[in-house]
Amino acid sequence: MIKIRKNRLYAVLFIFGSSLLATVLVLTALNQNINLFYSPSDLFASNPSPNKSIRVGGLVQKGSLIRIPDSLEINFTITDLKEEVTVNYSGILPDLFKEDAGVVATGYYDQINNSFQAFEILAKHDENYEPKEVVQALEGK
């Protein structure tokens, strides 16, 4: 190889290498900002730490949605048709959140009470779209 080409190759490799290293380091440091996804069955199987924020998805069980009157507090159950978990949430719900429809909640799992304290609720984005993970959870993946 001609020296110039060699240098060029080194330059390209150096840029990609150093940046990749930088990102890997950054990601390791930011481990807490990555939210793992669980279906209700996974929750039972693997008992995630109560201090780490995770996402839980499945269907909102029919008849499980309860609102404390005139407040932002709600409870509902997420099911994957095998296991279920109760979710507590205070705040605004997405437009397409409803019973018997797909949902993904982000928050913290409390194993003792089998309850999930959510700080963010995502529902379908439009009528034709179901979150990918919900579909997989229901297929029993």
């Binding site: 060029r8 990749l20 793992l36 996804f37 605004i92 439009d126 990918k132």
Partner: protein, 630 residues
């Protein structure tokens, strides 16, 4: 009939592009000129334009026998949304994209003269390569002219209500003008690899700046659209789709600056070529991420993994082709040229590297869920906004620091002044730091960082203008640069203020009830139902009293229901005062008849988009100012 004609024109344009690429390659192989390919390029444009018009006609005449029209339009849609519904889905937006790509190629061909016809043909070959990739992709995997025959529906399923909006009608075309424009510097750079030397760095700089201006405007429009149309007042979500527009933007920004150095000093040649190629590959990867549905995003296109695979393969092939040309080119490099530590070259080099690293960090965070999925055997994760904030802000901070200082440096060598300016900048930093801490009493590290970034850029600009105040020609020549840099400073200030001083409140409010937020008294006065041509809405009327100005304003946020697609939409309403936005959106109506509403105050949020607009203007000034002399 008309859809078939459109399809035929689409195929003709593809065949023309293949022909141009083959002829250009053959001419390179023979090492002589064979014929002028410019005319074929113009035919290709006319042909794709006809195809586009054919699809528009199908939309405007409600031809639901066309599958794409049936799934993206509806007879009750207002006429201007029927027009823009063409780019409301995947297939049509591909058609719009290749139309715009072809337009760029024609504009480039018309406005740029090459002494040798052969040289120009080579560039036509490279642009046609990209064109034929996308046109082929459209024809074979996402043909918008596909028919629903013999049984066609009487009614369409409607355009996604989120997209029935003014900003949406112009956001995709602007964004595509940006992406597609990057193909021109790509072609010039590959041309340089095969020996087209004529004014190449200057042309890369000019065409990248033009594309960059549209890209800036496109991204800003998208952010503005998300702000008022998604209904919850955020202006940037670190969504995969947003990220994949930001990555090419950052690479293009680096490319502009690198091309400036190459044009002026004839160094960083390889770097400029590499960035030109990376900008296009970055856009390809972005398109792959958006269209394959591999990442969950708020912008949903009709998702199809097979399309994704083909896009990935196209990206791979074009990368291999470009890097092959790049590595085999014998470019005599004098990278070890005599520039010293405090020279302009050096600062531009640092900022180039930082911009590229920033792009890679964002890209990595965006695709990390895919990597994680592969390596853990199907575990699904999301990377949250905190990752992006924590990684991008420090890098952006250094970029702004070097940007502010860099424009005060000189080409080639350091001067005594450099140390003086560095001291001044340090002083500005310390002052800004104490000023923000004492005045705002707000120890948020992100917003403090943005005030410091603002101070660095602005103080650099002020000293630059003062120093050159007698040299009006120089200032005038660099008006575009100064404007664009000012724009980014304005935007950064806006980001800082919004992230530290926003307030919000979620309330439950019934008819006749009051609530307060900051200086505003808000009363729910009335509610009612309203019917529109393609949807109906529950409208709630709020009376807002601004206690500082004693102004009374009515705000009417809506909850709209679209029967054709069975969708619900949150339509916020915003009171815009010079210093802040008051933003009200409705959540849901409770059984008691009361509403849940979210009320937000977003101080100086408009600086974000104003900054982007100033940057765009700066870009245009830089292009059209320079062309007069060069």
């Amino acid at each position: 009939m008309i859809p078939e004609v459109g399809n035929i024109f689409l195929i003709i344009s593809f065949v023309l592009a293949v022909t141009i690429f083959c002829l250009a390659s053959y001419s390179y192989y023979l090492n002589r000129e064979i014929l002028n390919l410019s005319n074929l390029v113009y035919f290709k444009f006319v042909s794709i334009l006809m195809s586009f018009i054919a699809l528009e006609i199908s939309f405007l005449s409600d031809d639901f026998s066309v599958l794409y029209v049936a799934s993206n339009s509806n007879p009750f849609l207002p006429i201007y949304y029927k027009f823009s519904a063409l780019w409301g889905g995947h297939e049509g937006s591909m058609l719009l994209f290749i139309l715009i790509l072809s337009l760029w190629i024609v504009l480039f061909s018309l406005s740029t003269n090459y002494q040798s016809v052969r040289d120009k043909n080579y560039l036509h070959g490279f642009t046609s390569l990209i064109f034929l990739s996308f046109a082929g992709f459209t024809i074979f995997t996402s043909n918008p002219f596909e028919r629903l025959l013999p049984i066609s529906p009487l009614n369409g399923t409607d355009l996604n209500p989120l997209l029935q909006d003014f900003a949406f009608t112009i956001h995709p075309p602007m964004l595509y003008l940006g992406y597609a424009g990057l193909v021109i510097p790509f072609a010039i750079a590959l041309g340089r690899c095969v020996g087209v030397m004529e004014a190449w760095a200057m042309r890369i700089k000019k065409w990248t700046t033009l594309a960059w201006s549209f890209l800036t405007l496109g991204i800003a429009l998208g952010s503005w659209w998300a702000y008022y149309e998604l209904g919850w007042g955020g202006w940037w979500f670190w969504d995969p789709v947003e990220n994949s527009s930001l990555v090419p933007w950052l690479i293009a920004t680096a490319l502009i600056h690198s091309a400036i150095v190459t044009n002026k000093r004839n160094i960083f040649i390889n770097w400029t070529i590499l960035l030109s190629v990376l900008a296009v590959i970055g856009s390809f990867i972005g398109m792959f991420l958006v269209r394959s549905g591999i990442l969950t995003s708020v912008h949903t296109f009709a998702l199809d993994p097979e399309r994704g695979l083909i896009l990935l393969m196209l990206t791979f092939l074009i990368s291999i082709y470009s890097f092959y040309l790049f590595f085999r080119a014998d470019i005599i490099s004098k990278e070890a040229a005599d520039y010293s530590f405090f020279s302009k070259e050096f600062f531009l080099l640092i900022n180039n590297a930082l911009l590229l690293i920033l792009a890679i960090v964002i890209l990595f965070g965006t695709i990390y869920p895919i990597i994680y999925d592969i390596f853990t055997g199907g575990k699904s994760i999301t990377v949250g906004a905190p990752y992006f904030n924590l990684t991008t802000v420090p890098i952006a901070f250094f970029i702004a620091f070097f940007q502010g200082y860099g424009i005060l440096t000189f080409w080639g060598k350091s001067k005594k002044d450099n140390y003086f300016y560095l001291t001044c900048l340090g002083l500005v930093f310390i002052l800004t730091f104490f000023f923000t801490y004492t005045l705002f009493n707000y120890p948020d590290i992100f917003s403090t960082a943005s005030y410091l970034m603002f101070a660095a850029i602005i103080s650099g600009l002020v000293v630059y203008i003062y120093r050159n105040s007698k040299n009006s020609i120089l200032l005038f020549n660099n008006l575009g640069m100064v404007t664009a840099h000012f724009g980014i400073a304005v935007m950064i200030l806006g980001i800082g203020v919004v992230s530290s001083f926003s307030q919000n409140k979620e309330v439950i409010i019934g008819k006749g009830e009051f609530t307060n937020l900051n200086n505003y008294n808000i009363k729910l006065v009335d509610e009612g139902k309203q019917d529109f041509s393609n949807y109906y809405a529950q409208v709630v009327q709020f009376e807002v009293l601004d206690n500082t100005t004693k102004n009374k304003i009515d705000l009417k946020p809506e909850k709209s229901f679209y029967p054709a697609s069975n969708n619900v939409m949150t339509e916020s309403d915003i009171y815009v005062s010079p210093k802040e936005d008051l933003y009200i959106s409705l959540s849901e109506k409770l059984d008691s008849g009361k509403w849940i509403a979210k009320i937000q105050i977003k101080p100086f949020v408009r600086l974000i988009w104003l900054g982007a607009l100033i940057m765009t203007i700066g870009g245009f000034l830089a292009v059209f100012r320079r062309t007069k002399y060069e």
